[in-house]
């Protein structure tokens, strides 16, 4: 698959093209350019590192939104095995923006749910661009209860621009659907792991992210508002999204340093879309390890620790 390069990847693409030309030229004319090729390969590697190891917040947002990035179902089918999908919230509808069901990871049986985007228009319409309606959150709650009842850990994979802003969504109380999940996840008597795999858009992300371990992929973002939305309000124009992205401290590294997430899952150089297999293996390792750590903890202690973790979040002054 030929990947669409992002704006900041242009220098890499140019070097790759030059290198390819040189190799072609060398073959066609039977001239040995080995020294030149090696020099250019070195330069390419340096350029990649210079760019990918110093990504700005906005560049990471673009990687997080890349449509060639592994999506929830890719992880569900490859980091996990034996995915058995369950449909519907038993109240109104099946929300295909949030598939979920049973799956096994490193031999451990779990209940998993995640936001799913599409790579092209048709799939995106089916998946509603990863924006769930209330039914998605209510299905998630149903699956959480199932996990609790049958002693299975609950894993969520987060990748949404946000909960769906629509007439039906409001009529059926998206606010309440999210709020109930926030309350119930805090007291769910089973180990919970949440992974932001791409976009962690505001309440739509948090609605399945109150977990014992909250992890983020290296280039994922997690934010109270989209950089564009923030820019439109505070800078009066969406074009200031890059500044807003930086100001919001929405990268995995920022959030880990602030103690707001529990861990970062490394991505292959250039982002998960450059190497699905590596991203899928890294997620598998991280989720399996988290479950290994959480499973032996007695439920009362697990819940106490979960509450304590979220209880600490807040920065203020003036306490007596």
């Amino acid at each position: 698959m030929k990947l669409q390069p992002l704006e900041f990847e242009k220098p890499i693409v140019e070097l790759e093209e030059k290198l390819a030309d040189l190799k072609k030229h060398s073959r066609a004319n039977d001239i040995n350019f080995d020294t030149e090729v090696r020099r250019m390969e070195g330069k390419l590697e340096d350029t990649k590192r210079a760019i990918y190891e110093n990504l700005t917040a906005w560049q990471r947002v673009q990687i997080a939104r890349h449509n060639a990035r592994p999506f929830a179902l890719d992880y569900l089918q490859l980091s996990f095995t034996n995915f058995l999908e369950l449909h519907g919230d038993r109240l109104f509808a099946e929300d295909r923006a949030m598939p979920g069901g049973f799956a096994t990871i490193s031999g451990r049986k779990c209940v998993v749910i995640g936001h799913q985007k599409g790579r092209e228009l048709k799939e995106n319409l089916k998946r509603n661009f990863g924006c769930a309606n209330p039914e998605g959150y209510r299905k998630a709650l149903r699956l959480m209860r199932l996990a609790e009842k049958f002693g299975l850990p609950f894993v969520s994979l987060i990748d949404t621009p946000g909960a769906y802003p629509g007439l039906g969504s409001e009529e059926r109380h998206i606010s309440e659907a999210i709020a109930v999940n926030l309350r119930e996840m805090m007291v769910l008597r089973t180990p919970t792991v949440a992974v932001v795999i791409g976009e962690g858009g505001s309440g739509g992300a948090l609605g399945i992210a109150v977990a014992d371990r909250v992890l983020m992929l290296e280039n994922a973002y997690y934010s109270v508002i989209s950089p564009e939305g923030c820019a439109a309000i505070l800078w009066k124009h969406r074009k200031h999204a890059p500044e807003a992205a930086a100001a919001l401290k929405l990268t995995a590294r920022d959030l880990f340093e602030m103690g707001l997430i529990d861990g970062i899952i490394p991505e292959p150089l250039g982002g998960a879309h450059q190497n699905h297999a590596a991203a899928i293996a890294n997620l598998k390792t991280a989720v399996s390890r988290a479950l290994d750590e959480l499973t032996p903890i007695p439920h009362d202690e697990l819940l106490a620790r979960r509450y304590e973790k979220f209880r600490r979040f807040g920065e203020f002054a003036g306490d007596a």
Partner: protein, 279 residues
């Protein structure tokens, strides 16, 4: 008229009388003298439009005279993110503190309604649209935890533009923190009454405000998750004229009751009679 015969707390000077003596009703354009407006709980005497009450006015209106005991009064927001935008967060906080005389967007504490003790928190829309940052989240959480500890009902009066984006994910996480505290309060079988006032939106509507045992709303209050402009831009749908009003939400099954401001104290008292745990 017992409520106004003597002030139940002497926290403030003359905030009830700001610049002009007259205010125009935003609904019917009637000019109303400030004194009348305050006496009338900021409800337009002509068209019944409910205007924004300050948190102090609301507490004075709802609670038994002299019963309010404020808690966590000194908590103030800090600019953890060093938010650099067009205006700095610190400057915004300072200007709103000056304008409102408040430290942040919620006042909380213990009080009584018809002699029934409650833990109560009231949001004040005049302070940065009562957006929820760490201070709002912390004060609400403490109000709920205090109620759980002392086995009291919780009443939260909401009005909010949502999460306070200057605090980034920290503000988002206040949603989980407040709901978590309410989970433990609910497990202790204690009542929580959520009162929604104009407007209650975004992250506040999607957290503590919509998980009350009873959800009460003021007439015509705008309540919803996403703003109507965003919904129109996203869906190109025509929205019904009463979209996201308290009445719309009662029709669609979210709100237990719409209560006129003048009946609120009495209704809360009645509800507590049914819900409050027997001593």
């Amino acid at each position: 008229m017992g409520i106004f015969s003597k002030p139940s707390f002497n926290s403030d000077k003359k905030r009830e009388f700001p610049e002009g003596l007259w205010q125009k009703c935003p609904s019917c354009a009637e000019m109303i003298h400030n004194l009348d407006l305050v006496q009338n709980f900021r409800v337009c005497p002509k068209c019944d439009h409910h205007m924004t009450q300050t948190a102090h006015e609301r507490l004075e209106m709802l609670l038994d005279v002299g019963s309010f005991e404020e808690h966590d009064a000194n908590l103030v927001s800090v600019d953890t993110l060093k938010f650099t935008g067009m205006a700095s967060y610190t400057d915004r906080l300072k200007s709103y503190q000056k304008k409102t005389g408040l430290k942040d967007a919620v006042i909380s504490g213990l009080g009584a309604i018809d002699g029934q003790r409650v833990s109560i928190a009231v949001m004040d829309f005049n302070f940065i649209a009562a957006t929820m940052g760490s201070v709002v989240g912390e004060k609400l959480t403490r109000a709920v935890e205090r109620a759980t500890r002392e086995r009291l009902p919780v009443i939260i009066v909401s009005a909010s533009g949502g999460a306070r984006m200057y605090e980034g994910v920290l503000s988002l996480l206040q949603m989980a923190k407040t709901c978590g505290a309410l989970a433990l309060h609910a497990q202790a079988r204690l009542p929580y009454i959520s009162v929604l006032t104009h407007p209650t939106t975004g992250g506040v509507s999607a957290s503590f405000a919509t998980v009350g045992d009873i959800i009460m709303a003021e007439p015509k209050a705008m309540i919803g998750f996403a703003g109507p402009r965003v919904i129109k831009e996203t869906t190109h749908q025509d929205l019904p004229p009463d979209f996201q009003t308290a009445e719309f939400l009662e029709d669609h099954g979210l709100v237990d009751m719409i209560v006129h401001r003048k009946k609120m104290r009495e209704t809360l008292g009645e509800l507590l009679g049914y819900l409050a745990p027997a001593k």
